[in-house]
Symmetry: C2
Subunit: 403 residues, 2 copies
Amino acid sequence: MLEVKTPAEVLALIPKEFRPLGEAETVSCTEAAGRVLAENITAEEYVPDFDRSTVDGYACRAADTFGCSDAIPAVLNVAGEVLMGQGADFTLPRGGCAYVPTGGAIPRGADCAVMIEYTEDYGDGTVGILKPGAPGMNLIFRGDDVCPGKAILPAGRVLTPQDIGALAAIGRTMVTVARKLRVGVISTGDELVPPDETPKPGQVRDVNTPLLSAMLRDFGAKAVSYGIIADDEDLLRRKVRQATGECDAVILSGGSSVGVKDAACRIIEEIGELLLHGIAVKPGKPTILGKAGNKPLIGLPGHPAAACLVAQLFVLPLLGRLMGRTQEDFAVTAFLTESVGANHGREQITACRLRREGERLLAAPIRSKSGLITQLAGADGYFIIERDCEGLPKGAQVKVFLY
Amino acid sequence: MLEVKTPAEVLALIPKEFRPLGEAETVSCTEAAGRVLAENITAEEYVPDFDRSTVDGYACRAADTFGCSDAIPAVLNVAGEVLMGQGADFTLPRGGCAYVPTGGAIPRGADCAVMIEYTEDYGDGTVGILKPGAPGMNLIFRGDDVCPGKAILPAGRVLTPQDIGALAAIGRTMVTVARKLRVGVISTGDELVPPDETPKPGQVRDVNTPLLSAMLRDFGAKAVSYGIIADDEDLLRRKVRQATGECDAVILSGGSSVGVKDAACRIIEEIGELLLHGIAVKPGKPTILGKAGNKPLIGLPGHPAAACLVAQLFVLPLLGRLMGRTQEDFAVTAFLTESVGANHGREQITACRLRREGERLLAAPIRSKSGLITQLAGADGYFIIERDCEGLPKGAQVKVFLY
């Protein structure tokens, strides 16, 4: 019999028992935001590839402008003009200057750019500089941004639109990302009917299939539904075997009766290895985890609010591990709108709604007697109460992980 | 000549000048996560629709168990068994009990459920109850979760997977969401080449088209690229007119030279109305905003890092307004890894990288001399320094808005 594990033990078990699949695909950068990067990106060229001005004005030698002022301008000879998008293939003579637009290339010999506001065009081929320059002023030098070999993005990062911009800047239009996981979703329970059916007495709608499927898609995985399975061990065994064959991971949920839980454990032990039977967390205690090779086989509680919190806390990190995702989720700080009790001797996960009040973010804990819709609809995230904490008062600061 | 506006003035101008399109489409709930809800969702039925047990055990009348204990069990007659997924269409006689599984229906007359752990089956049609019940114990009553007419989700919310679960629970498989916006993206500048080309001297790659397109897609809009337009006012006029005709909003970027900025203003004034020329924010000052009817025409700075921050701060809220999105983004609290200077007399937006250190989140500000890739790649979000603040010391607490 396996012991009930703490949440920390479960999270520590994931990298020990499961390894990244290491399977990648190359996609167009236009499709890559939200995917897990599967290569280390390093620069292969200089950006910028030429010295550029950051202002509209005149490129010149700083030494030629030292000591100038409004009253006594430095008078320089206009030696050329740089056009946007053109090189500046000439050398500035001593005492010379050249007009450059913002972002334009700087001629050889120039070591600063003076903003046009601090210059005066005398119209006779000379320009007055009213404010002294300094070497490097208003310039970006070749390679100031990146040089060949510089690390740009690490494998394992979830690509943001900003990362896509950076990839474009170094000329990457294709990128290697982790293959999308296929995750099988099986709901079990004699009481379940599909959401589009009207439940008869004693029946309820299957919420876990649409809920988990939406979570999986949101996480960048493909959800494959194997439908609603009645509490029948043989049927469940066939479906779990089929899903294990066709997918990278399988999530069962439901089977709240003792018989079905036992059946799920037996089936996992037949197909692979049972790693975990029970997590010391409320809600979510009756969670089971096994593996067939490197494929996780996960049994979630039947109650959708519990299934959702356990999926968020353990299943997504586990799938992230398979995808080689190294990124953590960051929590926001908020203050409780009312007290929350917790005297269960196990960690408690509480869903909440967030709203802003002036500078503070307020978290309204969602409390309901096994409420299903109440706990899901409109929830913005969840916070965790430690196992040795007996509750939190109104106004207490909590870390809220966003959905 | 329009005055430069503060960021707060710009955000206040959005709801005054633009109204929600009010155009919706009905989509399957399986595709609805991330979309903006366009209807108020209210419950139409009771959930649950019957009184249910939250435990495996025996449904009974609490009064029949008062005073019982391990030593003196209350002996009740087994009057029936409730099967999962079936109704409980019988009435419990006084002194009777019925087995119910977790989630099972409760027979009429029962007012509590006793966990199976606190019962003993004598095998003769009677069961001993070892712990007294109390009315309502371990039950969820009909409508405890929601009743007909209860507000479930408000229009304007961005649907989460959890919301999709709640919709399934009330039998909704289709939902009305705001139509996806079409947003035209135009990059201008003689120096720009597409990302898959190698820039010649004086040229750089167009980063804003892929960057803004990825941001727009991430926000649930369709990005329509009109390509790279050279600094040619007539050509730009034709493209802006075409994009305005075909899209719900148009974003120009680049044109850092004074002539092109003026051209963009002239074009917007010809097509519609110029609302804004310059925002007191660094980076992002040379931002322009106009409208053609209810269609925003936006001119962003050419520098990708500036374009990205301005888009995040003003363009996404503006597009959200068109979609009827009411939701705000929440910020995480982090502590600066180094000091950041800011003495510009205008608000400063600084991109940063986040990492966790124990319980604290650390924000490493990204500082670089107009660095483009450096400011984009690997950035996790941004924070704002108020205009009257001269800088923040190492260790200062900042609110980081996540990308």
